[in-house]
């Protein structure tokens, strides 16, 4: 359990998740959370969906900070909590949703290719003009490819989740994070029938190589490596979490850290809005 107020992102997401399998309870303790980024919000939704699918009671403690509670409400976390019948400690306030269509895409769920297509188009429509064209294009491609991966390969009955947000608007550090996740079988299990047993880290490393796909077709295996190449080329960051591994990829480095097991896959990209300036 976190003891100090802290920010929740791809790397710190584990800090608030816990499983008590003896009692059949999955807990998500956001009490001391001061900030939740788009990747972490998608991860929270995947954790909830996974625990609910496994028949666990899901218990969520909401942030003490009213601003963070308001933000979670604005990002439509309540829809996911309600959909999976989560026991919530505390209330998410009702917030007036002033138009921030250029700054965020609330947590959304999709279940099929049409849903994935709609979300990719939604990303384009919402972010067009809010960043350089190549950035918006890369985010469109990433959302489309990652959404398709969920639908085609993830084996996730609850479908997938997507969130995006623009940060530090108007500054030279302005950036966008988009994340797509699911509570499915994960990359390792997806690749295993064709490539054999391997660790989660190895599976992620293979999945970002060109033409590696569970489908034996010469045109497959372009989605994830294309995203990694594109995001690195724009000086961004990619996070891929699957099973017990979280791999962070930037232009200069790639590293994997161990994380708690979270069924499924969460892929996020952070891009500067104007990388050429």
């Amino acid at each position: 359990m976190p003891t100090a107020r802290h920010a929740l992102d791809a790397v710190t997401l584990d800090d608030v998740l816990s499983l008590d399998l003896d009692r059949g309870v999955a807990s998500l303790d956001l009490a001391r959370t001061a900030f939740v980024d788009a990747y972490a919000l998608t991860g929270l939704a995947c954790f909830v969906a996974s625990a609910a699918r496994d028949g666990l009671v899901v218990r969520v403690v909401l942030p003490e900070d009213p601003d963070v509670r308001s933000w979670l409400s604005r990002m439509h976390l309540a829809d996911v909590l309600e959909a999976f019948d989560v026991h919530v400690v505390g209330d998410l306030p009702r917030v007036i949703e002033r138009d921030r269509r250029d700054a965020l895409i609330e947590l959304q769920r999709f279940k099929d290719a049409h849903g994935s297509d709609r979300l990719a188009s939604f990303v384009w429509e919402r972010l067009e003009g809010g960043a350089d064209g190549e950035v918006v294009n890369q985010l469109f491609e990433a959302t489309g490819e990652l959404g398709a991966n969920v639908v085609e390969h993830a084996g996730s009955p609850s479908g997938g989740f997507v969130t995006a947000q623009r940060y530090k608007a108007g500054t030279s550090d302005e950036r966008i994070i988009v994340a797509v996740g699911d509570a499915g079988i994960g990359i390792r299990e997806s690749l295993r029938p064709r490539f054999g047993d391997m660790t989660d880290d190895t599976a992620i490393r293979r999945a970002v190589q060109w033409h590696v796909s569970r489908v034996p077709d010469e045109g497959r295996g372009q989605g994830l490596p294309g995203i990694v190449d594109g995001v690195r080329g724009l000086n961004g960051t990619v996070w891929i979490r699957s099973g017990v591994a979280l791999r962070t990829i930037t232009r200069r480095r790639q590293m994997t850290v161990g994380v708690s097991r979270l069924p499924g896959t969460i892929v996020g990209a952070r891009l500067p809005c104007r990388p050429g300036r």
Binding site: A113, H114, S116, D117, A120, S121, W124, V136, N137, F140, E141, T143, G144, E145, G147, A148, V151, E152, H211, E218, G219, R220, Q222, G223, G226
Partner: protein, 92 residues
């Protein structure tokens, strides 16, 4: 020649299959042109499926990609090369 009109945004393989669904099963000797005048963005998967549907599955004589964004052209060239049909892709 058969002509298809690409919409503004295309992402999934399903969309490529839907776009080409009206084409005959055998396109031997037929040129297929995809008018991309309205297209603003596409994904690698959509473009690969389009190339596969026209040049591989239906054995089209040529696939002409007309007025497409630079990125879509790049993806089409890559897809056609991956599938060994680069000589039957034309950029218009």
């Amino acid at each position: 020649m058969s002509t298809l009109i690409a919409p503004k945004l295309v992402s999934s393989r399903d969309q490529a299959r839907e776009l080409t669904a009206s084409l005959p099963g055998d396109l031997s000797g037929t040129v297929v042109m995809v008018d991309c005048s309205a297209l603003q963005a596409s994904t690698p998967s959509f473009v690969d499926e389009l190339v596969k549907a026209v040049l591989v599955d239906r054995r089209g004589r040529h696939l002409v990609i007309k007025a497409a964004p630079e990125r879509t052209v790049e993806l089409a060239r890559r897809a056609a090369q991956n599938r060994g049909v680069g000589d039957r892709l034309e950029i218009g």
